[in-house]
Point group: C2
Chain length 434, copies 2
């Protein structure tokens, strides 16, 4: 291979007018008997191979008929701009080698398939243009997150997946762990993130988290990726400012750098411009009243459901922070609101277009007695939280943080309805394969 | 907090001669009765608070005595360059607020502690200068990896942790998965990476992997992070070239951007300059002979042990690829070596200074019949690999990839003996807490 350097299709336009060798998969073949066209993809881009019977000779022409969908090939020929399809270069083929044949029963055909069928063949479905566009946008968002925090001198920290202490209670996967008893798969890295904020000041985690919940909605996976920054000496206002800056950065970055992928997805990008405006900051009480006035029967004290969130964001058509939820609706580690001790200093960030929550954040309770009381109220096992309580025993500090759900964020930016499409191999309660 | 902006200690020198407010933890206090000095840290840097009894008044002076180790404080005063300790600024304190007191029994004291004690108090141990330096280097390596692949148009892909199919056999953690039976925690993302390379061309994974192995060595964790690139149309030579380029990039980047942290670790950085030379490429057979000539009793056909690897790298004092191991010593997915079918097209990259393997890579077997035969030889459950075999049924393609162990790489670059120190909360067979 090294002796025969090949050109990626993404780079083909730089070679217009030259002889090139490419490696690619055939996605479609049509032939008139005298001339044949094979649509090509190689993961980086697309091109069209043109075979002229008179020019290529009988032996090569005979092989053109073997170019079934997903056949992999090595082609040599002249790269040419096709005035009728600008952006998709032609290759006037002179040499063809079939690397990997593909039987004619390739499972994904140009027709409607049910989503279960597609998910059963996820390893093939991922080759479709829509899916590669989504994967490229996801990758761009991930790099943008790293760049955002790196530029701000945050230290990226990898918190453990296997853990004895747990942040929330519902739905845990567990495994036997040698002589140490049961280990749980982390639902969050936050508690560890708090310890690391006391060490390094500003940190973020970036990793998979797990929920063994029997939820079958377009917003739930059992395995999904979270970004969890934790900042020493940030209060909840600083925390929301950072979230707003981050979300604006991510959307702007995708708009700038992945326009072709957004076009494949037919994303109405004008709907994303709303992030340039200041985000709405709405008290929980006002959010409840708003939802009620639009027909919801949610009551003060309850968490907001997805339909309530949709009603609220519909009112503004831009991201909305809902702030200061009732204590009972939120996790034990959130700081009591001095202005209204029934509530905590927290916020959910709701994305527009009916998307709902993409971030949950809060200032953390830094009072030892108060957080001990809350742990007891929630009947959590105190011995598992001993080291976490230590952070309030020795040099307790004002700190805040949040968790951004990667799949929900990517699904919103890319305009994809169901988050199962924005992760390569989704895990849901009825799906562990492929 | 927002109403009182504070300066990070890392940024203090830009404020020399100005009044500043800082938030920090006290790491050490010494007092003469008339003047007191408190060493400060805030995660970003260090400074020294200076309290002069005559200037601060009795009330504030009385509070200085309360500044035990790890007390967190808010201080206001003038930032001053101290000619006797350049780089560590003084703050001539005018106002002191104790935010979080710290009892005098803070577990980590300025004396030798055993490693078990330190690991039991990992949440505190991480506050030590050596540990924060290691964490910053780890974070730098991680960002450098992302930057390296982003600049080369690789798509970062997150492969599943919970999986029914498995890449290697030894030591698996498992969990019940709803009605789908048993799920295993991934030991590698490679098989999924291969499917994604057929979709996107060049990809890499970056995530945690798991080994339920009863290994108690300085090179083993049960949970560790791996980077696994997979490239369509790369052969094993291309693969090694990319690995060499990556390792050189990572080392150079840390040398350039984290000199202060390397200095804290007293790293002899001249030992890292060896990466600028071409890496050694040694055939497995020659590596065995070399090890034998240095006293090892390893025989052709066996995998190289850590002592063998140490003998080999000692010979060269720079990174060494050992290439083309015997089939039996390596995984089923490696491509048979056409030049010697007893062996496979693979390489381990051994780091110098006795470090041993930090990367394992190979060209992948792309012949359907051959890989099917190998799966059967290894008695692996064919039904779990059905989708993986599909990659050889439909448009099989030349491809290669590798796995870089993040902790081993960071430990080598940072000069840290045991990899348990280069991950925030290490998991080993006898350690699941904190």
């Amino acid at each position: 291979m090294s002796s025969l350097p090949s050109v990626r299709l993404a780079d083909l336009s730089a070679h217009a007018g030259q002889q090139v060798t490419v490696h690619a998969w055939v996605t479609h073949l049509r032939s008139s008997g005298k001339i044949a066209f094979a649509a090509l993809r190689d993961g980086s881009g697309v091109a069209q191979a043109v075979f002229v019977k008179n020019e290529v000779g009988d032996e090569l022409w005979a092989r053109v008929a073997l170019l079934t969908t997903e056949t992999s090939v090595r082609l040599t020929g002249e790269a040419r701009v096709n005035p009728r399809a600008p952006g998709v270069l032609d290759i006037g083929v002179r040499a063809l080698e079939i690397i990997g044949p593909s039987p004619t029963d390739y499972p994904i055909q140009p027709k409607e398939h049910g989503v279960d069928f597609l998910l059963n063949h996820r390893h093939f479905w991922l080759r479709a243009p829509r899916q590669t566009a989504i994967m490229r946008i996801r990758s761009e968002v991930e790099q943008a997150i790293h760049d955002f925090f790196y530029a701000r001198d945050f230290v990226r920290c990898d918190t453990p997946i296997l853990t004895a202490a747990i942040g929330e209670r519902a739905g845990l996967f567990s495994t036997e762990y040698f002589d140490e008893g049961t280990a749980y798969l982390a639902q969050t890295g936050q508690l560890y993130g708090e310890a690391l904020a006391a060490s390094l000041g500003r940190i973020y985690t970036f990793g998979p988290t797990f929920r063994a919940e029997k939820s079958k909605t377009r917003r739930h996976l059992t395995e999904f990726w979270m970004i969890e920054p934790e900042m020493a000496w940030y209060d909840q206002d600083d925390n929301m400012d950072l979230q707003e800056e981050l979300v604006r950065f991510l959307v702007t970055r995708v708009l700038e750098r992945r326009p072709a992928d957004l076009a494949v997805l037919e994303r109405d990008t004008s709907k994303l411009d709303c992030v340039l405006q200041p985000f709405v900051r709405l008290d929980y009480g006002d959010a409840v009243k708003l939802a009620q006035s639009r027909g919801s029967d949610v009551q003060w004290g309850e968490d907001l459901g997805a339909p309530d969130e949709a009603l609220i964001v519909a009112e503004y058509e831009r991201p909305v922070f809902v702030m200061n939820y009732p204590k009972e609706a939120k996790a034990f580690y959130m700081k009591e609101n001095p202005a209204d001790p029934r509530t905590v200093l927290c916020s959910d960030l709701l994305a527009p277009e009916g998307r709902g929550e993409i971030i949950g954040g809060s200032q953390r309770e830094d009072d030892y007695e108060k957080i001990l009381h809350r742990l007891k109220e929630e009947k959590l096992p105190l011995e598992a939280y001993d080291w976490y309580l230590d952070l309030r025993r020795y040099g307790s500090f004002v700190h805040s943080g949040f968790g951004l759900g990667l799949e929900r964020t990517v699904a919103w930016i890319a305009g994809v309805e169901h988050i199962r499409e924005v992760i390569p191999f989704p895990r849901m309660m009825d799906r562990l394969r492929p």
